[in-house]
């Protein structure tokens, strides 16, 4: 599918994903240059969402590899289904089949458990491969991944080398819990997504929550902007803003006030110290946001 830079915004926009110049360009170029896109940024700014939206927009599958400490090749590439192989062998123990045939059978596709990466490169139509939170995997895994990303083939000793039928669109995301290697960065295009500014966040709210009261929306966005300036343990992302706006809309509020904010703080802040800290400076925050005036 050919995609033009001009319509990429529309394509992503149609999936209710609000982009800006740099996001569009990165997505476009990673598709054109057939390079993986490494997306970094704080939690809850829509890194993973890019992959999901892209898969929808391209009308292809999304294959997700969630990384964690201890993730190894058997969970990322392939594994033989040993139990099945064993049962199969037992079933044909009577010698009905010649040994060569038997071997051929047990090392066939039927007994091969495809893990995300093998799955992704053996599709006819290129899927979107999301390698989520790559920084959580061990460094050993990272270098193994590099090998696959550069050769586009996987060798399985019992079968031989499996070449990619098509190159998947690869999106890697990271939270910067660990610095990724220079080599991996080199293979990728890089995109840093930060918390959105007021206008972008407002557009996102309007798109995702159509029945949102506009004044409420503006107050929410302004409040979130101020809130993110505080030094918090877990700075709330766009996901939290959406939750909050949705919650307040459901309860038919049309504006913020101190009581409402205090009561619903748990929707946006997930750390008790943050909540306490915010409660302490709530009046000041609301003043800056313009929700309450100095006199009241």
């Amino acid at each position: 599918m050919s995609i033009d830079l001009n319509n990429i915004r529309n394509i992503l926009g149609n999936q209710a994903y609000i982009t800006d110049n740099s996001v569009e360009m990165s997505v476009y170029l990673s598709m054109q240059l057939q390079k993986p896109l490494l997306v970094e940024g704080p939690a809850g700014v829509g890194k993973t969402e890019i992959a999901k939206v892209l898969a929808q927009a391209l009308n292809t599958d999304l294959i997700r590899l969630q990384c964690y400490e201890g993730l190894d090749a058997t969970h990322a590439l392939y594994e033989w289904n040993y139990q099945h192989q064993l049962i199969y062998l037992k079933m044909h123990d009577d010698g009905g089949l010649p040994k060569e045939k038997l071997e051929e059978h047990i090392f066939s596709d039927k007994f091969l458990l495809k893990r995300p990466i093998l799955e992704a490169i053996s599709r006819e139509k290129p899927p979107v491969l999301l390698i989520d939170e790559i920084d959580r995997a061990d460094e050993e895994f990272e270098s193994f991944l590099l090998e696959v990303l550069s050769d586009w083939q996987i060798s399985i000793p019992e079968i031989g080398t499996i070449k990619a039928k098509s190159k998947p669109y690869i999106i890697l995301t990271g939270n910067r819990t660990r610095e990724l290697s220079e080599a991996l960065r080199r293979r990728c295009l890089y995109l840093w997504i930060d918390y959105p500014d007021f206008e972008k966040e407002m557009t996102i709210l309007k798109t995702k929550i159509p029945n949102l009261d506009l004044k409420l929306g503006e107050q929410i966005c302004a409040f979130m902007e101020e809130l993110r300036n505080l030094k918090l343990e877990k700075t709330p992302g766009v996901a939290e803003t959406l939750d909050w706006a949705q919650a307040l809309t459901t309860m038919h509020f049309t504006h913020l006030d101190k009581q409402i904010v205090e009561d619903t703080l748990g929707v946006i802040l997930k750390d008790w110290q943050d909540i306490r800290h915010t409660q302490d400076s709530l009046s000041e925050l609301l003043e800056k946001t313009g929700v309450i005036s100095r006199l009241s």
Partner: protein, 389 residues
Amino acid sequence: MLVQRQTTLSGNIIQLCKFLRTKGFSLSTNEESDALIALSLLPIGSKDSFHAALKSTLTKSKWQFEQFDDLYEEFWEELNKAVDSKVKESTKPDKDKAPSIQKPSFETLKSWLFNSEPEEEKDAVAYSSMEVLTEKNFGDMSTDEMRLIMAILRKIAKQLAHQKSRLKQKSKRNRSLDLKRTFSRNMRLGSDIIKLHFSEPKDKKLKLVLLSDVSKSMDIYSRFFINLIYAFQNSYDRIETFVFSTAIHRVTELLENHEFNKAFEIISKRVPHWSGGTTIGSCIQTFVDLYGHKLLTKKTVVLILSDGWDTGDSSNLKQSMREIHKRSKKVIWLNPLASSPNFSPDVIGLKTAMPYIDVLESAHNLESLKRAMKHLKSGRRKRLLYTNR
């Protein structure tokens, strides 16, 4: 830095890459060709997408991503200034984007390193008179004893370097069944399972970050601590060493590349306020800001060697210690002065940091140091130790 005017677009892009390299970007011909291909895909005439395409292909990290816009502007300005085929010197020679390192004040350090000033001796006497120890204090140890200690420490360090990883390796013990190997090995002999194979967690190398206070108050211990750091440095693969007083310095490479005495000399030359006051708060904060995301992981044990005297603002110490505690495996604070019988952790810095310390040890003699080292191995448990002996 030179910016030379080019007549072709590709020439300018290569110039841009050159320019970016002088600013600390690591760009190979790969990135250059990516950039050129990217530009060829764009519709002509759009300034914004031109910029965005270059940004997308030439940046590889958050820092570069943030720097790019300004540098891009600067480059084109320079380029406009440069007249055809004439080379122009840049007006701004600031190439120092890396964390600024203060010029070493040679004299203070040299005097510290080779001196035995009476004033300092007085201090040492004052400290040692506080000691009511059966074991010998590190502060007044002979060279032979020191050598013995170093050997023991190296041994401990080596033992500690092996931790269990969550990656599996084959094992002779019956830990957990390794189906893959069991199957592949037994199939050679026919379809019956005769021998079972097992796996166990693989050894994991421990990451260690050492932050050592070399200020005045720690003077009599600093020499020993540098020794200690050095012992660790050579037994571990992944270890980062920092020294701080009023500023913090990364000395990992120095210790890796030099023989001990040489390294010691260089470090003391480089640290400007060696044996001066301490501003733990700002030093630790600098550490978190500059190196935190790179060095602090759930595998990292952070060792802080300090007495906790802080002449600076302690509010940022709280913030940074919390950050370190949250992002590391364990925080161990070694305080030689804690061995004094009338010690209580009410030194302002230490008091602030207290909630975020997993283990507090005095580490003034081998016994307590060994105890502290044992904590490196175990996971996090809230257990604060004072040795009032």
